[in-house]
Symmetry: C2
Subunit: 229 residues, 2 copies
Amino acid sequence: MTVVRVEQKVLNENQRIAIDLRRRFQEHQILCLNLISSPGSGKTTLLESTLAAFRPEERIAVLTGDLQTENDARRLMRYGFPVQQIVTGGVCHLDGKMIDRALEKWSLENIDVLFIENVGNLVCPSSYDLGEEAKIVLLSVTEGEDKPLKYPSIFHKSSLLILTKVDLLPYVPFDIEAAKANARQVNPDIEILEVSCATGKGLEEWRAWLGKRRAKQQSAAQYPSPRAQ
Amino acid sequence: MTVVRVEQKVLNENQRIAIDLRRRFQEHQILCLNLISSPGSGKTTLLESTLAAFRPEERIAVLTGDLQTENDARRLMRYGFPVQQIVTGGVCHLDGKMIDRALEKWSLENIDVLFIENVGNLVCPSSYDLGEEAKIVLLSVTEGEDKPLKYPSIFHKSSLLILTKVDLLPYVPFDIEAAKANARQVNPDIEILEVSCATGKGLEEWRAWLGKRRAKQQSAAQYPSPRAQ
């Protein structure tokens, strides 16, 4: 008997869907960002500040995930951009199928930036590729500077760490330089921003980061590398 | 053909282990408490304050779970009571088998109160019974009063909600009465304490709660209900 080894990597269902989502996002030049953090680190609040600063004609959309309630979608809809709540009904993360289904209701031609606010959970969402261009992890200064070492996977996979609620630094025992060092220990390439939506600190740098990523994506679409042909 | 319906509930492996753990905890009159919260809500800090107040001769033990690092065990060992770190290596919750294995290193005869500090995750740990007498959910006032509605399972299953970091209330937009109402909406029987380990507020009530539960357990062991015979 001849045994033929099949060396091709077996992709699971989520990976297959994520590859298709990524292809469609690139085809439509959509910058898709996947925001991940513990519950209550300020994902929705950051998105509120972010949406408030976009001009009404900009083509921004938000998918927001929660186990239960449509509270976040209600908060975000006030800014006039399309928002959909994904209620997972107890599932601890968003997966590619949920994103795919939600996007059926929208025309991708009309979207330039898609924010995905994941379920509040610093563990499980890191295992599910949603076809995003980048993962962004949020860590509030009330949570402790040791979190990148205790939950390394998401810090390892994220392009950007946003340290939120920095206005609370005077009232909490949080060593911000240790937090940054811990994040860089698990991911030397991670970019880091310090933000407070209460005072506005760091929001300009966050918008600059978004602008840079949009420019980078447009440039990649205009001058694709030969391998992508 | 005669079809015989087997109505007996099929237990999964974790449930079987949890039933055995619970039987052993009751046999040895151990009060086992399973502490669950988001990362950074203050489980380890509460345990530090709790251990510091026990007399050295009290028979207290702690199992503390994390994806990575032994930081928490190191923090808790300073109080002189037996502590074991369970490193899950990426698993998002503790399960019965992990508890069972850790307890092999200890004699249950020497333990009166066992604290289990779960992995920081407000979602998945709620699905895994560890044989505990009660689940305790912690929610810090920096996380927002909507969390009981967005993560109902753990609030529904917990006997006690500890609102932590209440010293930060002047600096955060947290409606504590709304938080309590939301918790009672998903669990009308939940008890609620307000605690700050920074100022000591509420720690006396927390110790009184522990005393009450220990007394209740000892009384149940002394006067078991007829059905338990």
